[in-house]
Structures are given as C-alpha cells and as structure tokens.
Amino acid sequence: MKKTILLMCLALIGIIITPSRASAQSKAITGHVMDAENQEPLPGVSIVIKGTTEGTMTTPEGFFKLEASPGQTLQFSFIGYATQEIVVNESNTINVNLKTDVQAVDEIMVTAEFGMKRVSRSIGSSVQNIKAKDITDSGRESFISALQGRVAGLNVSSSGGTPGSSTTVVLRSITSISGNNQPLYVVDGIPMNNSTFNPGNLADGGASFSVRNLDFASRGNDFNPEDIESMTVLKGAAAAALYGSDASNGAIIITTKKGTAGRARVSYSNSFKWDKAYGYPDLQTKYANGARGTTNYYYSGRYGGLYPQGMELYNNIESVLRTGFSSRQNVSIEGGSDKASLRASASFLDQEGVVKTTDYSRMNVSLSGKAKLNDWIRFEGSMQFVSTENTKVPRGTSGPLYMAMRWPIVDDMSNYMDEDGSHMRMPNYYTDTDLLNPLFGMYKNKLYDESDRFISSFVATISPIKDAFLRAQVGWDVGTSTYETSIHPYYYNDNGGVGRYNLAKSNFSYPTLNLLTGYNKTIKEKFYISAQFGYHQIENGVSRLATYGSNYAVIDFQSINNVDPSTVASTKRTTTRRVQALSGQVELAYNNMAFVTLRARNDWSSTLPVANNSYFYPAIEGAFIATELPFLKDNKSVSYLKLRGSVAQVGKDAGPLEIDPQLEATELTGGGYQYGYTGPNKNLRPEMTTSYEIGFEGRFANDRINTDFTYFWTHCEDQIVKGFRLSYATGFVLNNMNVGTFDTWGWEGHIDADIIQTNSGLSWNVGINASHTKSEVVYLPENVTEYYNAYTWNSGNIRNGIMVGHPVTTLTGRAYSRNDAGQILINPTTGLPIIDETWSVIGDREPKLRFGFTTRFNYKGFSLSALLAGRYKATVVNGTKRTMMQRGTSWESVDLRESGPVVFDGVLRDGNENTDTPTKNNIGVTYDVYGSSIYTGQDEDWLEKDVNYLRLQELRLSYRIPSKLLRRTFISRAIIHIAGNDLATWTNYSGIDAVGNTVSAAAGGTGGEGYDVWSIPNPRGYSIGLNVTF
C-alpha cells in the first residue's frame, strides 16, 4: 500500500518537474528501464540529472525521454532498487537494468492481518512473501497447487491429478487430530471460504459416495490467480494471531490488484496446455483369469493358466486415458490517477483432464479499485465473481483405473456398450456378471458440481488526526454450489440397477466485519510505538438442501424429475457459526533495531457452551536486527542479520451444533425421530494451541545469499476431538470431547543465492527450501489405546491411528505377531505368519524431510526457471500394489506363483516361541495352493519405507520480445513462454503416486496423505502462452 502511494507521489513530482528548460548543448535522450532480475519494465522510475532538479519518470512500460548534455550524470532511482548513475555520452539511447536493493528490502512492508502493513523487520515470526508472478507463471490452474515447493514448511496435498481436485494445505504441521488443519485464506483482509463438500452430506446419507471415492473441488481453488498482486504466508500462530481461531494453522494473505495510476493499460495473456498421463503400473500379460492355475473367467483374479499363444491382449488402463487440454485466457484493464484507480479483469479457464470425461471450467470476473477521497479518507474495494463447473470420475477402488485393472485383458474394455446400444457390455469370456465397465460409468453416470460465488470486500480508512487511523472493513463471501451424482440403471451387476440420483445445493454466506483503530508515535527519534485495537465479527452460515431418488423412468435421463416419486428423500441442514472478538496490539521499536510486539485477542464463539464461550489468548514477538549494531553495520559480508522469536496462543472453538445431541428423522419404516451418532457434551471448552518459534533471517556476501531459518514447537492442548469414541454404553457412538494433547516441532529453512549476476543482465539464482516436522501425542484418556480417523482405514487394516507416545501421523495396522525376541510367529499347521489381533504402530507417514528447489536463469529477454519438489524418507501405503496382488495383475504376483515353495522367515508358535530355542520355521508354502488372500499379504507388507521422491514441478522458458521491435506497434510489452509441469518424477516408490492422497480435503483431520490407493497422479503438462500489454 505504502509502496503504491509513494509511487503515485513520485509520479506526481515527476509531472511537476518534467517541463524543465533545456540547456544549449542538451539533446534528447530516450531509454528503457528494466528489472535486472526478471527483465520486466519498471514504471515510475525517477530519473534526475545529478545536481539539478531536472528529471523525469518512466512510463508504465518503462520508457523515458529527457533532455541532457553529454557529461551530465543521470540518477535512476526507484524504491526497492539500488540507485544507479550513468554518465551521458554520445549515445542518444540509455537502457538501464536496475537491481533490487537488498538494503531497501528491509523496509519492505508485509501485509499482515486485516490488510494492515507491518515492516518486515519488526515481525518476530516466520513470514514469507510469494511473488504473484511466480503463481501466474506456475502453469497451475489453482493458486494453491502453485504453492507446493515454494515455501518452506508449506505442504500442498492434492487429492489427485484430475481437474478440480481438492487440495489440502498444511503449514508446518497438523494442529488438529480431527478438525480443520488448513490455513486461513484471507483476501484483502477478509476470510475466504475454502471448504470442500463432503459427499456424505448427499441425501442418500453417503450410501453411494464418501470422501474416499468422490472428491469435490475445494472452494479456495475458485480464486483467480491472475488477480493476485501479492501473497504472504503467515506460518505460525503468532503471525496470524489477530485473526484468531481460524488462523491457528497460519494464514495465507492475498492482496488483489487494484489498478495502478497512469495511462490506461490493457493486458492480455493466454496459455494452452496439453497433459499426458504417466506413471501407471504395468499389468502382467502371462496368466489369465482363474484360480490355482486353472483358467476360469468366472474369477476376476488372474491366477489361471497361461494366456494361449497369439491371444489378443488389450491395455485397458490406456483406454480410460486421453491427452488433456486446457486453455486459459485473461484480460484486464486498469488505469486511474493518483487519487483513484480502477481495475477490471476477466479470466476464462477450460480444462479437459487426462482421464476421459473429466473437465473443469472457471470464469472469474473482477472489479476493484481504490480512491483517495480527500486527505484523510481512503477507500478500497474489490469484487470478484466466480463461476465454476466440474465433471469428475470416482477415485480409489471405485475409480476408473482400478476398475480397468480388474477388467479381463482378453477383452477390449473401450468397447463398453452392448450391441443393443443401451446396456453395459460384459467382457468376453467372463461369465460372472459383477464387473462394471468404468468407461460406461464415465460416459453414463454423472459426477458434477457447479458453483457461483461473490467474494467482495470494502475498506474505508480514515485518518482524522496525524498518526492515527480508523479502518472499517466489510467483507462478504457468498455463493451457491450444486452437487449432482447420477448412477445409470445399467451401471450395476448384470445391468440390474434402477438408477440413483443425488442433488445437493449448498449455499454459504460468510459476512465479516473488522473495525480497527490505531495510533503511531515516534518518540525522541529512536523510540517508536504503535498501538492498534480492533473489533471483529465473523459469521459462517451454511445451508444445505439435498435430495435423492431412484428408479429412473427414462433410462438415459439424469434428473430428480426422472425418478420414482415414492423414492424421493430429502434432507436439509443449516448451520451458523458466529464469533465476536476484540483484539489489541502494541508494537515497540528502538532505533529500527529492536522490536517487541504484544498482541492479544479475546473471542466469543457461538459454538461453545455459554459458560465456556469466551477465551483469551495472548502473543508476544520480538525481533532484533543485529546488523544495526555499530560494529556490524555496513558490513558487506553480513549485510543483514535478524534474530527473531515469538510465543503465541490461539484458542479454537468447536463446530456448530456440536454440544447437544441432534435428533434426526429416521430412515426406517414409520419415521419419527432418533438421535444421531454424536452424544452431548455440555462441558466442551475451547482448545488451546501454544506455539513457540525462534529463527533468523540473514543476507550475506553482498546480499547475494539470502537465508531464513525457523525452529518451532507447538503444544496443542485440550483438543476438541470430533467423533471421539467411547463405549456405546454412553448411549451414543461418537462424542465431541476435549481429549487429545500433542506436541509438534521441527524446523524450516531456505537459502537462495545469486550464483551469477552481471550488469549485462545475466543472472542465475538458485534456492533451496526444506522442512522437517515431528510430533508426539502426549495424552489420551486412559480407556483409549488408539483414536483413529475411520476414513483413513483404506487399505486392509492400515489406518491413521493416534496413540500416546507416537506421532499424530502414525500408521497403525494388524502387524505380524512376534515373540519376545521380535521374530515373526508362524502357524505350525499352515506355515503362514500369524497376525496380531489388535492394532499396533507400523509406520509414520511424515517424511524426514520435505524440500523444494528453485532456480532461475535470466539473460536479456530470456528467462529459464525450474521448480522441483520432493520428500526424503517418507513412508507410503502402497494400496495400489496390494490390490494388484490380490487380483493377480502385477508381475510380482507372477514371480511369486512361479517361485516354488516359500518359507516365511520366523519361528513356529508351538509353545517354544519364547524359549531360548524357538523352532525355526521350515514349512514351505506354495503360493499356488492358496487363493488370492496369500498374495494380498498383510498390512506390514504394504508399507514402503524410506521412499525418496523428487518431481520436476515446473520448467519454464520465456522470452520477452525486445521493446525495439514493439516500438511501432500498439503493444508495449510482449512475453511468450513455453513451459512444462510435472515433466518427470524420480522415486524409489513402486506404486503409482508417492504423494497420493486417499481422501478428499473434505475429510479434514489428519488427512489421507501418504496413502496411494489407485491415485491419479498429476499428468505431464506442456504449455505455451503469450502475455501482452497494450
């Protein structure tokens, strides 16, 4: 904000001083000023003839023109850049590349809560800015996906590579076992809805779909990346403290473009992208359907005899895929004066995914602007209208890939219609009637959602007296979404279904009000004090109407009107959460060197029992700029060193309607009411997260090396665990209780360096960021050995179990039974390993390290950049391979059946297992005499540990067409690019996607990251595009 105002002021000065007198020897000099790093033109650069008051400013396209005499020195200065001096010589043209002035970066303002600015150096916790350009250049359709790998400690987990997949973002670590773990998204000071619809809320009560097999888009992905001016990631609770509960997982602050002063500017950009799927497993082509070596197409498992020579075999997985294509077009127009500016933009995205029938389209139209009404009233506003449509396919073991894997390869699955033109075709040879053709499902079923939404915010800032302000923000994020699922009557065993249709309409309304007042004062030059006080009001209203019906009258028609009226069932659910809060902040600074900020907030939430609904939480942060110390000042090798630390608490409320048991209409004969699963808890208290962090930021070697490091520790106490279980003797199945306490800790850091930087415009920058997180559950009630998230129970008996003394990301399962010495126990009759009756810890999903690697190479108009992201030593559940073994479709299953008798390593459970001389197992087990269960193996067999993973997320080459060539056109600036997304993956993981996520973001809690159960990974994308400004 300040930057723009300053810019406008400078522009103003420029206008005033431009009509200067030309001296006798003077001549006209023209030129162009660009950013040395990215070769972007710099508007508003001040050019002054040294020693005079004469000068000019660059145009919005970076051009300038002035009269000067040879020998005079031109001074080019621009905020945030190092001032450069050039002596006028014979040439009439002077082109200048300005380099970022790292010293000046100190003064960079960070957008903190409620759109307020804070001086970066005063902040005591980790804050990272993301350049809008990086987001728009990422090639990603969603700004959320574009964040992966760019920010240390920020992990984006996408539910899949099909268009419109939901995304889960976790900053640093999970802070809630069962609730929301995502950061708060804030647009121009106003929270934005980032919810994901849970298919369990459809009126058939989740009978057809759940968070495991159907994924609706996250609402955060609605936002248009092109409208982002800047993005700030507030990682810790401390940085986001003033936003309260919703920001206990950090916040992502987005400031939208509001138009810049100057001549009206029209920009257009486009991008066309082709996607190609890769990384799918190879199916065995040796043994046919059957069991125990005998071919029998009644079985879907492939343990039969050899395929006859010359039999035609088909790649059915291939048949559900295609080349995806997407196009993006953005147009914006902006302009205005120093008093008022306006920007309007429109953006259109059309995406067809690599899985046939999937598509996503989004239209964003926005209008924003700002105005300075007089000396003491400023006004800003923005409105964005978003409309999205998304068609998807089911996921996991309901998804097309899994079903294609099961389809007999002696049959061409792509031929999915029966000869009668209406029924689903059964595969040739196959005599059972239970296989469903996924292509029939994709073309004949419907999984669709659409959404229309307004995100708006209005801010008035009044500065009635010097150094004080009053700021009022009103925001309203409001929208409506429609979710539709239809299952064709013939998409059923033996074409014997009736057709099932679900329609849900969800309206949400999130109005927000923030009133802030503040006062700043500098005392005796060196002391600075600023105080701020705020009142806040948040409302999250959601109203959902869902209806279901079955028995289609017209087989091929999808509508609630086409079902048997007697089958229609509808449900409605309305929830409102309201929070009122007061916040305060006092910042003390000494000599621009030492800073202490005290912050506090008190919330009153509607979701808690009245007696417990008020909760207070403070935060303190400090920063010390060591390089301001006299003996370090002006040291070239250590140009900037900041030490920082903070302690912050954030209280968190419950969800709406979680205190009292809810009566629900019964779905049984006779109707009436019955209680839902969840029991009452009149004593629910707010949970409290306390986070500590220390860190430093430094710049070395003449500012060419930039580092940032943070160590954090978080204590999450009194967690409100939703869906906590107790004995059914409570009268209920689930409860919402303050039961869990756990700690998380770890570090995150980044370093980047300008390896090459020359005046000729050649530069090469390399950056690495990494993070490491650990956690430990420190308390659960005594009667509970393990709390688990049921939706993570998605491959055999592996689930995300929460156990005292173990990380919150623990995987539990039914392990092999072992003797006291840890040897696996073998059944003396069968020779097979024995499985524990109960669940125990078998792994941890959290990798040892998550990291990202960025590099950018610039020369003249060329820019080449790359982003790689990866994980080191992760544990991944290979549910994909497990199902392939179960069905005998993997080459490994072929190896096993051909291997001869296998003797499992272990000791017999014959009574001697815990003596000094246990009986070593020597019973050979021939795989062929068993059915599929032996191939399916046990939980421990499907954890792949020490998985390393590296993905080339982005590779982009762009070229800025030299201004000379555009001089005579109406185009002032043009950039063309070619780029690739997810071009390559290097990993020792043997399933499909090591970063697969088995559940939709709607599941919340600890999520399904690290579970690969027929994930659809990100495809390889190739794009070209153009960016022009008129």
Binding site: Q537, S566, Q662, G670, R725, A729
Partner: protein, 628 residues
Amino acid sequence: MKNILVTFTLLGLFSISISSCDEYLDVNNNIDAPDYVEGHLYLAGIIASYQDMYYDLRAMAPLTQMMGTTSGSFDNFAYHSYVSGSDVGGQIWRLVYWEQGMNLENMINQSVEAEQWTLAGIGYAIKAYSWDLLTKQHADLPLKDAFVPGLLSHEYNYQEEIYPQVREWAYKAIEYLEMEDPHEYGDKISSNDYIYYGDKEKWVKFAYAVIVRNLASLSNKNNFTSEYAQELIECANKSFQSSADDATVKVAGGSSSASQSSYNNFWGTYRRNLSYTYFQHDYAVQVFTGTVPKYDEATGEKNVVEDNDYYPYELADKQIICDTFKLAGHYDPRVAVKLATTDDPSYEYMENIDSIKARKYYGGSFAGTAGSVGTAPSFYGRNKSSSYTGDINDGIGRWIYRDDAPYILTTCAEIKFCLAEAYWKLDQKDNALEAFKAGVSADMAFTEKYIYPGDKGSSIGGDKITKDVFGTLANEYLEGPYVNNLSMSDFSLSHIMMQKWVSLYPWGAFEAWVDMRKYHYDLSYSGDYPHSGNGWDISMVDQKWDTDETKVFKGLYLPPAQVSSRKITFDTDNEGAPCYRIRPRYNSEYMWNVPSLESLLPISGTADDYQCSIPWFAYPGDLPTNVQ
C-alpha cells in the same frame, strides 16, 4: 475537528449495528430438527431398529447350523470362532445401546413424567425384550453404567444381575400397561406402534413372553425347578395364546420404489443381504426332511445305501420331526416354506401335493453351498445370487425372506415350547405334551401366515406352495404320528427342543442358540468351566451319539466332532471349547473400554478364548471366579 466528528459519527453507526453479544451468538441451534419431541415420535424408530437382529442372524444362524455362509467374516461363527478387530456380530450391541438407547430412555422417562402409562409400559416391554436379547448374546454387559452422562469408562455387570433386571422391567411394563391411562392418544400410539398398533392386551402378553423367554433359558440350571419353573408357567399362561399374538415388526416394504431401502426387510431381494451368501445348512435339511443320518460309531462315517438316488445314506432309526414316508401325516409341510428348493422353477405345481412332497432339498456346509448330498440353493430357490430384475428373477422374495415381510421377534409357538420344556423339567409330561402340540400347531399358523405364492407358470419368485395346500398338509401332519398321535412313551425332550428349533428357523436363531448352549451342544460335558486341560481338548470335542438317550438335538455335531464332514478343528484360541458368547462389539468395547472388559471373570474379556466363557444362564451352578 470536523474530521473527528465524522469519525465518531461513523463509529457510532457501526456500534449500533453490533447487537447485543448474547443474542448475536445465540445461533447454535438446529433449525432443521426439533431438540425435543413427544415420546410417541420415538416409538416407530425404536421398533423399526429391530431390523438389526437380522444383521446378527448372519452370525447366529451359522452358529446354530441353520445356515451356512460363504461370507469370509460370518463363517467364523459357524466354526465357533470370531473375527478379531471387527464389529461383525455386534449389531444388537448397537441396537440396544445406541439405536434404541437414549431414544427409548427418553420415551420411557418422558412418558412416566407425563403419566402416559401406556407408552411407558410399551417402552419397558421393549427395553426388557432388547436387554434379554443382548445378554443372551453377549452375557455380561455394562448395565448400571449405561447411559450415565460423563463417564469415560463403563463397568460391566454380570448376567446374574442382568437377568432379574430384565424381568423387573417386564413386570414394570405389565404394571404400567394395566394401569388406567386417561390420556387421549388419538392415533399417536397406534400409528407408530408397528408391533401391535396400540393393542395393550397384546403388549401385556408380550411382556409376559419376555419373562417366559428369560426364564426358559435357565432351564438347565440346578435350581430351575425350584426357583424359576413355576413363575415361567404362570407367565406363559398369561402370554400368547395363538399365532395372532405373535410379536412381529411390520415394515413398509416397497422394494425398489421405497424412498429408503431400509423400508424393506433385510432379507428381501431388494437389499440382497441373503442373496446367495447365506443358505440352508445340511443339518436343517436333515431335521426338516427326516433324514438325520445314522453314523457308524466306530468311524463316524455314514452308511451308503444303493437304491436311493435322492438320499444315499442310511437314516437314523428315530427321526424327531418327520420321516421320508409319503403317507399322510409323515410329511411336515414347513419344509416347503422355510427351506428352499430348486424344484418346480416355473411354479407349475404349487397345488400338487404329490409333487410338493417329492421335492428335493439340499443343504450346504458351514462355509460352502456344496453339502453332503447336493448343493444348497439360495433361500429363493435358485443356485444363483438373488435378483429382482431380469427374465427369471426372485421378485420381492418369499415367505419371511421378502421385501415386505415383517421381522419376527417372538411367537406363540416359541412360548408354548418354553412351557412344554418347563413342564418336562417338572416331570409333568401330560402338560408338556399338550403344550408341545399347541406349539407345533401355532407354528403351522405362523408359517402359513406369510406364504406368498408365486404365479403359476412364471419364474419371478414367490413361495412354491399355496396357503390352502399348506393348510391341508399342516392338518395332516398335526394329526400324524409326530404330533397329535405321538405316544407319550415316544415323547422326549428332543421333540420339544427340536420342534422349537424348527419353529425358530431361521429368524429365532438367537433363542435356538440359547437352547443349544444350555444343553452344551450335547457334548459329553465335563461340568467344568472351559479351559485347557480341564475337560476340554484342543483337538476334538467329544459329542454324544444320537443313540444316547440324553442327547437333545439329534443329528447335531459341532465342526470338530467325530463324524464325517465335521472333522474340522476349532481355532487353537478356543482351547477345544465351543463358542458360548459373542464378544462385545469391537469398536465399542475392545477399542474404548478395555480396562472394564479386561476385569471380567472367570475368563477375561480380552482373553483369546473369551467367546468360550460360559454365561451364567448356561452354567448349572454359580460361576467359578477363578479358572486355572
């Protein structure tokens, strides 16, 4: 100054818009459902939730050799084992504690408070029935700690304490139902009571039935005759008198046109729960068709006979239910309804008695449709998964395996057999025989009621016999040598208990299992609590031969018995003992209430063989507190 004025005016305007804090925050209410409803609005849901019994029948019916199953989970029960880490077999746990749970507590408490005695009485009757069911299945339970707010762990009560509590609730029900209730209910009760539509007299009979069933399970306790038999007889005489009194839960049905699939019976073709995963067991076919075989006591093998292409084995000399003669009275027509056959697939001979009698029935093994003689069909009469569409299909099902059939809670026949058994124990054999005859007769009426004949010549499901033909054959049978013409000298406890078993087939497997347990599956029982080296052998159970006078269930052999097709070993965890109780619901108790479970005696609830721990009702004396 002007600036400041404007500022304060704006500030003032904002503060007006902020309403009072309490009011603003008072939005945590459900506007889509009431937070309080009148008692009768709970009733239909409480009653309809009895469908859960049929969920657990998937474990009970295989355990009592009524059904076999190809379900990889439920066949564990057939083998007297369990599925570790799973909720299977725990549905009634869910029914009693949650589905009825607080709904029933509220209904009872609100009704008592409002002096609505009828509704309160119905509530107590339901509560007594449900808890009786639950304790018979799982034995020891959290009773006193149930529904107490705020508890994190729930202590168990032993069955010895639960049994009298069940009867107390039943008597309470009778007390309330017999009190004058001046409330004008209108149709509030009658339209929500899917058992008796508000008929108080029948509810009283039902409450007595609960007491009878409760006491009958104690018939093998040492003090049965002195402590319980008389009370049983008194209650039985006040209970059901004809099949019209049977307690059944009506469902709306509607098949694929129902707005909720659960409007249909769990066993109907629309919900496909029986499909072809569950099928009649070999033992059921032997009992129903009078083909219990004779085993060679030296080898345990059956003797093959050459001239019978339907049943190629020598039969036991004494059949209890019927025999294979085609003479009038020797054929039990219930076989044509309760069991399934693939014969007459197009429903041509539904009225042809000779054809009906000539039908062949085959039963499956514990875990497969292939039985010792032939292949068991589905309950709908085809060797195929059930289907309600296609040219040949099973329609909406048949008999009580039908979309719109009611769920059966208890019948007059069952109560009469309980009465007969009590008289038998008191050595009042004349009375026992009378009650026995009344029981068989009541079961004929019960069986006939739900016959749903198919369409002649059409292969779209239904029963393969008409009500009229059934009635004729039933009368013949009742007059024959197995019922009314049964001589007192031939009359045995086996007749009572096996006719009861037939009358319970297969909906009443719960109670059939009670009977099998109290007679200890006809094992040569040592009298001790099961534990290794204490009369129970890990390798084989020693079962009484059918020729043994004291053997109650003729033809019954457990999976590890000494006869052909039973020579399977129990899981090693059983330590040689059969299953005596179903382990509590895993995700209620084993996950969240382990310390309480662990403290159970004499076998800890967490022990690998807890399912073999004999419940108090089946143990002749007091339970030991310590088993070595």
